[in-house]
Amino acid sequence: MIFEVFRQERKGQPFTHGGSFHAPNREFADAYAREFYARRQESVALWVVPRETIMSIEEFPDEFDLKYRRVDGYSIKGRLKEARERAGTAPA
């Protein structure tokens, strides 16, 4: 069985993928994960996950060009300039 390991370097940080290993069961996976990824205190926590339980999603089509959901969907520069001019607050 292949286990994937995600490790956290410091409290509060996200878990990042560290690598994978073979283990026959959870008990061995626990021991191997400690040996491989935490024996120098380089991790404060580990997530050890059987590979087949991971759902991987990779295709994200954007046929409708949904730009209004992103910051690049908004160009406020021109309108802001005009608004400031009308209000008389435009920088000199």
Partner: protein, 302 residues
């Protein structure tokens, strides 16, 4: 142009521009084959590299050194495990890697085909062989195959301890008795040739297929120059002599040296080195002896 050719061309442009590839992405067959061969040899080298060090666990001069050496060996075997996993995900099972290693079908690094004669060798290997290795491995952090590049982070981090352990061992000996100093000098004399071979023939980066696919991000000679620039001064400041009278640094910062015997490198890596057969025989024996463990632990191996 066929659609495969076009796809290959696009792939090539992608990786040459710094793009990184994941396991499930489409990749040309040639790229996959080169990755497997290169990464497998790296894994083999981690595994074979512990054998000369294993010989010194029982002969380490102090308990502290024994523990440090054992920890280094554990690290190297861990690297092998991680690296073989990368090969496995590319399509070649670990058992096949181990079979090909002990049958002599696949290769391992030149430096692990030589015997060790004294504790001086252990220091010189951990310091300078690992220093040469970390230069190659750091360049692999930018490898176009992302899973390999990610594994290299952990490998490089652990190698940095090994270099310190080696340098500390060498420093203890060069500040010891004249006999201890001499053991280091003799070890350096033995290892200088293999160290100059380490980064391979000076094939221009533009003609190196591994650079072409951006599996490697630096050419062989570039790596060797980096090694010389970084470590020759550190060796000389200890009063040691490098056994190459032609070695010097030009005004342009480029090191010149006696042309290494490239035929020897070729002979050694194809299994004709002074310790090749002995090391492979030990690996065969170890494999046979622990076969029952694999069968008991991994149902798929039974």
């Amino acid at each position: 142009m066929s659609s495969t050719e076009q796809r290959t061309q696009e792939f090539l442009e992608f990786v040459q521009a710094g793009g990184q590839v994941e396991t499930d992405d489409w990749m040309p067959d040639e790229y996959r084959k080169r990755l497997i061969k290169f990464i497998e040899m790296h894994g083999n080298s981690e595994l074979m590299g512990v054998l000369p060090e294993r010989d010194w666990i029982l002969r380490a001069p102090t308990l502290q050194r024994k523990l440090a050496l054992t920890a280094k060996i554990q690290d190297e075997v861990g690297h092998c495990q991680l690296i073989y996993r990368v090969v496995e995900d590319l399509g070649k099972p670990r058992t096949q890697c181990l079979d090909d290693l002990i049958s002599g079908k696949s290769k391992f690094h030149n430096v692990f085909h030589y015997p060790t004669k004294s504790w001086g060798d252990v220091g010189v290997i951990a310091w300078l062989v690992d220093a040469a290795a970390i230069i190659s491995q750091k360049a692999l952090l930018k490898c176009s195959y992302a899973p390999y590049a990610r594994v290299m982070k952990k490998v490089c981090w652990e190698e940095s301890f090994h270099i310190l352990h080696g340098r500390d061992t060498v420093l203890a000996m060069v500040t010891g008795t004249p006999e201890q100093f001499e053991l280091v000098q003799e070890a350096l004399d033995r290892w200088w040739g293999p160290l100059m071979h380490f980064h391979g023939t000076p094939i221009p980066a533009a003609e190196d297929p591994m650079v072409h696919w951006r599996i490697k991000s630096q050419g062989n000679e570039e790596a060797r120059q980096q090694f010389l620039e970084g470590y020759v001064p550190q060796i000389l400041e200890l009063g040691l002599t490098i056994p190459d009278p032609a070695l010097r640094r030009g005004d342009d910062g480029v090191w010149t040296y006696t042309e290494p015997d490239w035929d020897e490198l070729m002979a050694v890596v194809t299994g004709h080195g002074p310790a090749s057969e002995e090391r492979l025989a030990f690996r065969r024996l170890a494999r046979a002896e622990v076969d029952w463990v694999s069968k008991a632990m991994l149902p798929e191996a039974a």
